[in-house]
């Protein structure tokens, strides 16, 4: 059966939940795409590859490290050549990065005859990133459909959910065990450190949901 859905997949908790939802919607007709944009820990993409294989979903990784180049200080020098330095962190967070993620996914999706793009963006805890909000998602859906003359739909199952609600949502999808393989820890540790802000936020979500986190934590 031809693929129907392409999941923007980072190997984190939210996009793994989206993968489970996409498979519930279109069993056996899901693919996933990950982005290498110079993130701190490559372990994220390793976990994504592992989870995709576990879920039986083809997984593509696209090199978007140019994103770190366009926020480097080199720009301010008006130099002619802007190069991306592998292994180096972006000097600033790339604003609007969901524009690039969704646009790249759209180019891939259209070639495969896929209309539905799944992303784990969430307005509830958007932390000031305007490209996680519903109005942005509807706008880029329209823009990409016009740009490629193709009827894309951007599906955002988590848009209105809190972290705790996302955990409950995943339980209902019957895939809570997948969370054991997701990556959250800022320090890139497995077992996870349990102490960094990302681990603390994750654990709070599970606590509020009254559900045990299947992820392994240190000591």
């Amino acid at each position: 059966m031809p693929p129907q859905a392409l999941v923007l997949f980072s190997g984190g908790q939210d996009s793994t939940t989206c993968l489970a939802q996409a498979l519930a919607d279109y069993p056996g007709q899901v693919e996933a795409v990950g982005f290498n944009y110079g993130q701190l820990h490559h372990i994220e993409l390793d976990q994504a590859a592992f989870l995709a294989q576990k879920a039986g979903v083809p997984f593509h990784v696209v090199d978007l490290r140019f994103l770190s180049a366009i926020t480097s200080n080199a720009l301010m020098d008006a130099s002619i050549k802007i190069e991306s330095l592998p292994g180096q962190l972006p000097s600033t967070f790339v604003e609007g990065r969901n524009v690039f993620f969704l646009s790249t996914a759209a180019v891939i999706a259209k070639q495969k005859g896929i209309r539905f793009l799944y992303t784990g963006v969430c307005e509830t805890d958007y932390s000031g990133y305007p490209d996680c909000r519903e109005n942005f998602i509807r706008s880029i859906e329209h823009t990409l459909s016009l740009a490629m003359d193709y009827p894309f739909t951007v599906v955002t199952p988590l848009m209105r959910l809190t972290k705790a609600e996302t955990v409950v949502f995943m339980q209902k999808l019957g895939k809570l065990d997948w969370y054991a393989h997701t990556h959250t820890c800022y320090k890139g540790m497995r077992p996870a450190c349990g102490q960094c802000p990302a681990c603390v936020l994750r654990l709070k979500g599970f606590r509020e949901a009254g559900i045990a986190d299947p992820l392994a934590y240190m000591g």
Copy 2:
């Protein structure tokens, strides 16, 4: 004076006309950005750099060769790793590439406090590319403004002009001589071949405008 306008600049006839317009609108407050997306002839970007220097405009080149990777046949294999091969042509034209060009320009522009993005897209001879049409431009302007919470304006001086009208437009801007340094020839030749479809179309525009092309042609 702080920069006000960022021109999407390929070194071709249309974007060179946009550069002249931007400088008329904001003298001394213009920068330009070019994109290396694996185009056939590097001479385009060389000419762009030459013209930018002649115009006294800082010029940045961003490496977007990942675009050729996302249209390669590797994708169809569901392989995990998608690599961009330097020097290799995209196997297919990248649909919606103006999404990537404008989004990249927007990220750079915001960092510099620039609101106005100039692009030479033209609905008149859009040749079936939906991402050259006015409705797309207005939509992505809105999307990028939402994504980065910043009031971008996408300026398209050539949107309604024919090739002949563009030549007349440039004459009025007093920069016809810049056309001697633009690149059009598909064969990458300088002097231009005068025979390929791109050269033929260019020469037709000048003929209809009743203006001599300052570009050097063979024999």
